[in-house]
Symmetry: D2
């Protein structure tokens, strides 16, 4: 932690600063510059971070030196993490997680049909929402437990691991009975109590980046889960808010190598929510693989016109199969493969 | 709802569109343009909004005409809402809610001292966090129920209504025993289950705008609370994410008259979280009043150097009293007054 | 300048860093931390800033300590700048510059009529564009020199200083003949050759903030003008790009006290371009004054329906007079007054 | 163009609206909805766009239906554009433009050495700035005409087309003597007079996206060049402003297929300026190709520690050669190849 002093910081302010630093149990070192001086504060960065140094008179700025996350960091674990998702499917360390399915679970027949098609197309994880975080209280909110049962049945029948969103700490126990992975949506990335709760389960967690979260914010949210003992966190880029309304959000693909430079956790890309435009999804899925992603999340519906949620951003099963075909050609160049569920 | 057709939309696609619209139970009207044609879809806008019209072939764009919120809208209630907060303090319709206090409750002595000073300075609502949503799992997370008791005691002793943050639907029942108002923080603005839960209480809710929420998103979140039967929602602007790191967030004061043009709900401004800079808080508080706000939320601490959370953005009690003094001069020009707790 | 070393920086890399620093003519000081070490580089900050320190192996980050602007800074000049604009009108140090007029000059009769009305309403500077930076090449591009003549005539007849936009270094000489102030538009804030050119004139320059410019970027652009010898720079906040399309841009009023903490230059606010919504302009003008602005820029047209450019964001003369009336009540509370042209 | 009427629009306001529309020479069609009515305005969209319809009383919103660009649009030209850049190098329609070189020209020896290395590595266009748009007036501003001569000599000697930035309309004639392509930098994307000037030359123009420009803004700026008669415009994504400071800008790769859905112009990607981080450049270059880009722009320096401008974002020649090697493997999957200069 470096304290930058104001140009007019007096000697008595400086002494007060030194006292405060010692009072907090840290050491310091003064470095006098031509126009401005610095105080290096030495100690455990975590404790330093919580110390209100900026409020001391004479201080202009406080510059942190270390990253605030630990368990999520490359420094904590140098090699890439990889996790087992069930039915022989893995993610990380070369294995691509290909999640597909409808936005919301709408009934067993529809889900089974879509699931068969995406599995045939090459998907290895089935998705479907039973509890839906909708902007409007008047929109379809999901089928609830009935939907979870349908998802489990379809997953079991086809031998595919399934993932579904959890929105509320009170749902964790229920959803845990039916799902293979928990999804935390973008709107809940900083719902810390929910993070604590899934951190106490043994299931992999797919953590989506919030719409205005920095890479560091995302890793701090992962740290909440990890620090509760659950080491299986998969990060997901799904677009951030920006000023151009020609796409729904702005897909930040540089986030993939950026996260990988800082963390050992797998990262996947969701071009469906990021763009909201089926015509852009295929090229963004391919670009995601080229950026180094460990998987792709795509919404697929066999009849987008009838979907109860976000139909306009879904690919048709045929279009999905075509994307997977192209990813299969591309993946080996990046040392990646798509494991098939068994 | 207006459907904009693709320039190459065929007659058979057009017929398919008409069929779909009728199937969904709506009426339509075709309007042929020089280069592009439109279909006006007529029916209840709520149902229209959920219809996946954009997924029908031949459709280029779908333009909604009505706003998606109802109970929060000026069209639903033309006059400004105003609520009783306890101890004779009201907000709205000319009454300014002046919330002050520390970020986190740190102990009874500290809170009592700060509370006395802010009350003497002119505050009419006391704040203090017992459950803190911290970016890092390693930061101070709040005193929990013990903190709530302290807040209640201090509020009772000084005759001030109190407000504290609720982060989890499971905390609503507990916090309800101790607080006068619930605060929903920016990170939980779209925690819809939490909104539903506070929507079933009888206490006013201070709903803070999310860091990347549009004005419409905020009003939709208010709509969740209102549609559960709780009519007492107070909106709060606390800055949004932007690219200039010289302030913590970007305070959007145009949001105040913008919300008021659309909604009858009271709106307050929080310059502490918005700027993160004590030197900018006083002028932003005054600008907030001039923008038409119904109150100001400011963090105050008697020893920012020792604060356990966000000390660097707190004003000193003297500085706070000075701001209130200036607001008292300004308020009458805008038909506003600061009610004193009794 | 502080160099943060990588945790795995070797001793031989460290020696290479020291050599490089000495080669560049600077001194250094090493400070070893628990997990990471720092090197303070001591020397003229300007030269330091241009030194490619970040490219040296073993360096993780380089943290500047001083601000990169000089002539624009409070450290260079402690007291507020104030300038004479002609006809007895001044800006800064308590004097408010009230700019009003149409977006584009459309003819002498129209401009004269609008000018008379805004002067009667309380404006003290007349604006009107003769060269218009339009997003589309097919939109009205302005009347050119003919427009400049009209503007000059109307200003002279009514005894008002006039301001008009310059878009091209080749126009500076021509426009200089007709105008009292140059305006540099948001799109040209970093048109450095244009800044150099107006920096060589003796006229005050109204420099508008770019749509994605930080406060520091804006002050650096002012520095271009100042370093050419022209000390009369007035900064203007006119909204930045953001994600909520319910206003045209996002007005950043915290920028006013933020700039004033860093610089002695006057700052005005333009709620017309910032919001694009006549219904929000009056309250944002008042909030601007409360934020500490040295003036307000508002587009006024007597027949917005017929305006050739941006008619939808103009106030009517009556509405403008009402805003000025309210500012006259507000201004004394902030130690400000509106000088009348003589 | 669709006019959305206010819910309380009176019949006499409606009649006034109809009169205004007819006065402007357009036709209209009224469509009455359940809560709100619409008026479709029929006529040439260009003229409609300039009509101040939003200023008419009773109007709530005006929704454009057609895109405002023409010559740049897919509707104007369905097939992809491709241009000859000199020395047998082409861009577009399968040919990748691989631009490399230093940020600034610093001398003939340095440039020659870098140019030989990037050519050997696989670059087919050489870049180097002679006039540099620097944020600070105190930074190195480029070598000017001397730099242009060096660039020309090196290009001729090695048989590579060269590109350099033009910042000022007055430089167009001079630079035209030395360069094969003009580059318009991000800060000048809406310097319309400069666009007009290069629009009157016969050289291809590399137009970089502004830091807060929408895709539509960029295409409108291309339209300025095209409408002056120069059909050779190449668009370049180089990152936009966002809130996460861990990269310099935010690379928007979805912009590539997004532009291609709207326009026939070639699009290239610049990961150097977008990320500012050499460690992220290789994967973003590959992702750019996978996104469908027609070329990649990368800064390369043989001694970044000594570079006079932006050294910290440059790749070393070896690193560059490695990126090109990977692109050569990837390109055929996307029907692309890298033409070699002859």
């Amino acid at each position: 932690m470096i304290i930058v002093l104001k140009p007019d910081c007096t000697e008595s302010q400086l002494e007060h600063i030194f006292e405060k630093i010692e009072e907090m149990g840290f050491r310091y070192e003064l470095s006098r510059g031509v126009k401005r001086s610095l105080v290096g504060v030495i100690g455990e960065e975590d404790q330093l971070r919580n110390a209100p140094l900026r409020a001391i008179p004479g201080v202009e700025d406080v510059v942190p030196v270390l990253k605030p996350f630990k368990l999520a960091s490359r420094e904590f674990q140098e090699h890439d993490s990889s996790f087992d998702l069930g039915h022989g499917v893995r993610v990380g360390d070369g294995d691509l997680m290909m999640i597909a399915g409808p936005c919301a679970i709408e009934g067993e027949d529809v889900l089974m049909e879509i699931a068969k098609e995406v599995k045939a197309g090459g998907a290895n994880v089935l998705r479907g929402g039973a509890f839906k975080p909708r902007t409007s209280p008047y929109s379809f909110q999901g089928m609830g437990e009935e939907g979870l049962k349908i998802l489990r049945n379809v997953g079991d029948e086809l031998g595919m691991p399934v993932v579904t969103e959890v929105m509320d700490p009170r749902q964790v126990e229920l959803i845990d009975k039916y799902t293979d992975l928990f999804q935390i949506g973008a709107r809940n990335m900083q719902n810390f109590n929910l993070l604590n709760e899934v951190g106490q389960t043994n299931r992999p967690v797919l953590l989506k980046r919030g719409m205005s979260a920095t890479v560091q914010d995302l890793l701090m949210s992962a740290e909440y889960i990890l620090s509760n003992g659950n080491k299986q966190v998969i990060l997901c880029e799904r677009g951030i808010r920006s000023f151009d309304s020609s796409t729904r959000n702005l897909l930040d693909l540089a986030m993939v190598p950026n996260v990988k430079s800082l963390s050992h956790l797998p990262v996947i890309v969701d071009p469906s929510h990021a763009t909201g435009r089926p015509d852009l999804i295929p090229s963004m899925a391919l670009a995601g693989i080229a950026a180094g992603a460990d998987g792709i999340h795509i919404e697929v519906h066999n009849c987008p016109e009838k979907a109860l949620s976000d139909g306009q951003q879904a690919l048709l099963p045929d279009q999905y199969a075509e994307v997977i075909k192209q990813i299969r050609e591309l993946a080996p160049l990046f040392g990646k493969r798509i494991p098939q569920p068994q």
